[in-house]
């Protein structure tokens, strides 16, 4: 495969975008797991579909449409979270449904031959273009830079908002920033695994990394490495078995995660057994 990668531009793009996606997902995935924002991130991710539909409808680059709509949705969700004491799962569920439906609606309204939405739903890493790659790269840099530059304050906000507020840390700003970063990450990952499978790439690497460390920084680094391993192996599986790349990556993630959880459950049982 290595030789083929050297030969074909599209395979190079695929490998690069897999690595870039894993970087953003490792960082943001760790954060949304620790801050219990998985459901909200799911809602934000699914509004991206509406944005893609809008992009087609307006005749602009769909990923730009997704970017605008997703960031808008993220700000909306952050505001709901801040302003109401109501269980946010409910508005998030509505966002989720509305985003998907709007996507379908816009595509239906778009004149001419309907575009293939499967690429965006399930991802197709093999169609990532050079220009897409640059978009992904710049968003990636933004996500990494924001989290690195504000790392200690992010950690304080994630851990204990109340205390951070009393310390004079701008928690509202950090929260909105975080939601924008989540939105950007979603857009970064759309081409790699697609909207449907984004949650797998966001949550599984940090969930596994958690078994090995109790340090936030290391958790992010391990998650990135695990993500790279997942996406590249998935890519290789997709190439050799000739199955769609997004599906290959997500299924591989699920299998590994299942296996790791099983091993962990068994070893813990044994430990308890031995001790007791």
């Amino acid at each position: 495969m290595l030789k083929t990668i050297m030969q074909y531009q599209f395979l190079q793009n695929a490998v690069i975008s897999a690595v870039l996606a894993s970087i953003a997902c490792g960082i943001i995935g760790t954060i949304i797991i620790e801050k219990r924002l998985v459901m909200m991130s799911g809602g934000i991710a699914h509004t991206a579909f509406g944005g893609i539909g809008l992009g087609f409808f307006l005749g602009i680059e769909p990923i730009i449409g997704a970017l605008v709509i997703t960031v808008g949705a993220a700000l909306g969700v952050a505001t709901i979270k801040r302003k109401t004491s109501m269980n946010t799962d409910i508005p998030i569920g509505i966002f989720w449904a509305a985003g998907m439906s709007l996507g379908v609606l816009f595509v239906a309204l778009t004149p001419g031959y309907p575009p293939d939405m499967n690429t965006y739903l399930f991802g197709d890493i093999l169609t990532v273009s050079r220009s897409n790659l640059y978009i992904i790269l710049s968003l990636d840099i933004l996500v990494a830079l924001a989290v690195i530059a504000l790392f200690q304050h992010f950690k304080a906000y994630l851990f204990d908002e109340e205390f951070s507020t009393v310390m004079g840390i701008k928690t509202t700003f950090i929260e909105y920033l975080l939601f924008i970063l989540i939105a950007l990450t979603v857009v970064v990952v759309i081409h790699v695994v697609g909207i449907i499978l984004i949650m797998a790439l966001l949550t599984a690497p940090p969930a596994i990394a958690r078994l090995f460390t109790h340090n936030l920084k290391r958790l992010m680094v391990y998650s990135i490495l695990i993500g790279i391993f997942f996406t590249l192996t998935g890519l290789w599986l997709s190439y050799t078995l000739n199955i769609p790349s997004g599906t290959a990556i997500a299924l591989f993630i699920s299998v590994v995660y299942g296996a790791v959880s099983l091993v962990r459950a068994l070893t813990q049982r044994r430990l308890r057994h031995n001790n007791g």
């Binding site: 790392f151 507020t165 009393v166």
Partner: protein
């Protein structure tokens, strides 16, 4: 002496529940104020209003003559109930260091050597230095509480606000904490909510009794009458033989000025 905290006619409603009604309170510089009152009396609410975490429905709070949101970073806080998740990937040392963070959003913040020194000396003082690399989920309740006290102290606050800080501590740690607080009181104003009547008698300088209204604020001497009014019935503390300074005889009461 100057007033560091002024609470003027503060009323707080949670939707329909009135938690504080027209509360007035002045706290002087370097005062050690104890706040007592029954469950649901609004003690935690009053602290949160002072900290700027809750906006009062009416009335105002001034910290050093400014609204609380302008005084952020001058107060150290130990909440009654922590809202964080105990499985968060953070160590005892990192938690304590948090108190050294500066407000605002400075980029590429790094803790200095001095930050570490301050954190380590407080961890030493509170006997948690040996636990410094533990993830906070792996601490006992009392060890976690001492970690949070250390964190509030690393702020080096001008005002220290504690909401039932000794609730989960053993007797020895308790008296140890009170010793530390008394020492700290030389440099800072301390407000402490407590149900621990022995602490009230031996450590604090002024006492506030809060049950939605401020019933009393003054010397730590309580009359049966006041206790009755505050708690609705003669509470445990009488039966358990509270030290003399706290409970004065019926007729010699403190002056109600709330």
């Amino acid at each position: 002496m100057t007033n560091v905290i002024e609470v003027k006619n503060v009323t707080v409603y949670y939707t329909h529940v009135c938690a504080l009604s027209n509360v007035n309170m002045l706290v002087r510089d370097k005062e050690f104020l104890g706040i007592i009152g029954p469950n649901g009396g609004g003690k935690s609410t009053l602290l949160k209003v002072i900290l700027g975490l809750i906006q009062p429905n009416s009335g105002e709070v001034k910290i050093f003559g400014q609204p609380p949101t302008k005084a952020l970073g001058t107060m150290g806080y130990i909440p009654q109930f922590t809202k964080f998740h105990r499985d968060f990937p953070i160590s005892v040392e990192e938690t304590v260091l948090m108190g050294r963070l500066s407000g605002g959003i400075p980029l590429f913040h790094k803790y200095t050597k001095k930050d570490y020194e301050i954190a380590h000396s407080l961890m030493d003082k509170l006997d948690i230095y040996s636990l410094k690399d533990r993830q906070i989920g792996q601490l006992s309740g009392g060890q976690l509480q001492r970690t949070l006290i250390a964190r509030a102290l690393t702020v080096r606050p001008k005002i220290l606000i504690l909401d039932e800080p000794t609730a989960s501590l053993d007797t020895e740690s308790k008296s140890h904490i009170y010793e530390i607080l008394e020492e700290l009181n030389n440099d800072m104003t301390i407000i402490m909510v407590t149900h621990d009547m022995s602490a009230v008698s031996s450590h604090i300088q002024t006492l506030a009794c809060l049950n939605v209204n401020m019933h009393y604020h003054g010397h730590p001497e309580l009359t049966d009458e006041l206790v009755n009014k505050l708690y609705g019935c003669p509470v445990d503390l009488i039966a358990h033989g509270v030290p003399h300074r706290v409970l004065k005889e019926h007729n010699k009461g403190g002056h109600d000025h709330a």
